[in-house]
Symmetry: C2
Subunit: 185 residues, 2 copies
Amino acid sequence: MTEASARDQLLGRAIEWFATHGVGDSSLRTLAEGIGTSHRMINYHFGSRDGLLGAVVETVERSEREVLSTMLDGFEDPFEVGAAFWTHVADRATIFAPLFFELSGQAMQGKPYAASLRSWLGSGWLAELTEGFERAGWGATEAATVSRLSLAMARGLLFDLAVTGDRAGVDAAMARWTQLVTEDR
Amino acid sequence: MTEASARDQLLGRAIEWFATHGVGDSSLRTLAEGIGTSHRMINYHFGSRDGLLGAVVETVERSEREVLSTMLDGFEDPFEVGAAFWTHVADRATIFAPLFFELSGQAMQGKPYAASLRSWLGSGWLAELTEGFERAGWGATEAATVSRLSLAMARGLLFDLAVTGDRAGVDAAMARWTQLVTEDR
DNA sequence: GTCTATAACTCGATAGAC
DNA sequence: GTCTATCGAGTTATAGAC
């Protein structure tokens, strides 16, 4: 683990930088200066700019997956998991949501380094969510539909939060959504 | 209107180009070549790259606003308006959704040329939507909440559509959402 | 309004010493 | 692993003829 630490440390700082400055107009040079290294070092560790971006995408992806997985182990009720994960996402929204939507836009456009992100966005959480709803008593087809709606709602409210910054309003909306779904059951 | 036609024609072609190629890695030169002009002409008409991007954002914005406004005049039932506008958006999603999310990401990051987009995203449709729900019989506070949820759901499903390309599935989800809202009323 | 030419700069990537 | 130096290509923006 120690051999990888130079690279991983750099990667961590790069992610923070991208979160606040965006990837679109961050050159290797400005990024390197911002995180206290040289653009030579970035190319040394990641091979190229796209290599770095690929590593960023992969790391953020895996990190969120692990958070969700830990929560799924920790809670019984799927709605508790949903609420906890929403809190986690919303807490970090001001920093990470812009990066999320920027990278997602690039994934939609078919950028190579974001290919793994695209397939993750398309199928990533849906299976876990559906399973959660089934465990909570929904029928299979209904669970699939409601999962898709819930995922869309979470992303839409994250979008709202990133634009307006109105955490209280968005939290209230999310609560209203949960109520709507459970009532209809 | 004839004096502006050279500029407007250029602007229209630039928007099409950005929709399929993204703004992130479209230089003035590649863009100019792609739409059959020179980068000098773009700087002549729009002053700078940011000037062009600002004009693009503004034009797309105004165009969508006009479509919605026309539909509001044409239909009585707010749900008909919602359905019609969703069809309009979804029809163009494969082309425009990536551009929409890319530009939105830049607006969230506070890019100057996307400042007007940001304020539009934050407050643009909400008033019209809320008014629609009130006209359909909702109380004021409830109409505001449901509007916020509906907007978030539309954006989330647009995101879904752009990633998966599954129009039928997304249309079905949208129908389910409408049902959910009307049942709860 | 449209062209060619070019200034002034930044980009990603590499070379090679240490 | 980290540094300085630099290449060649690409960038925005401007100058000036027509």
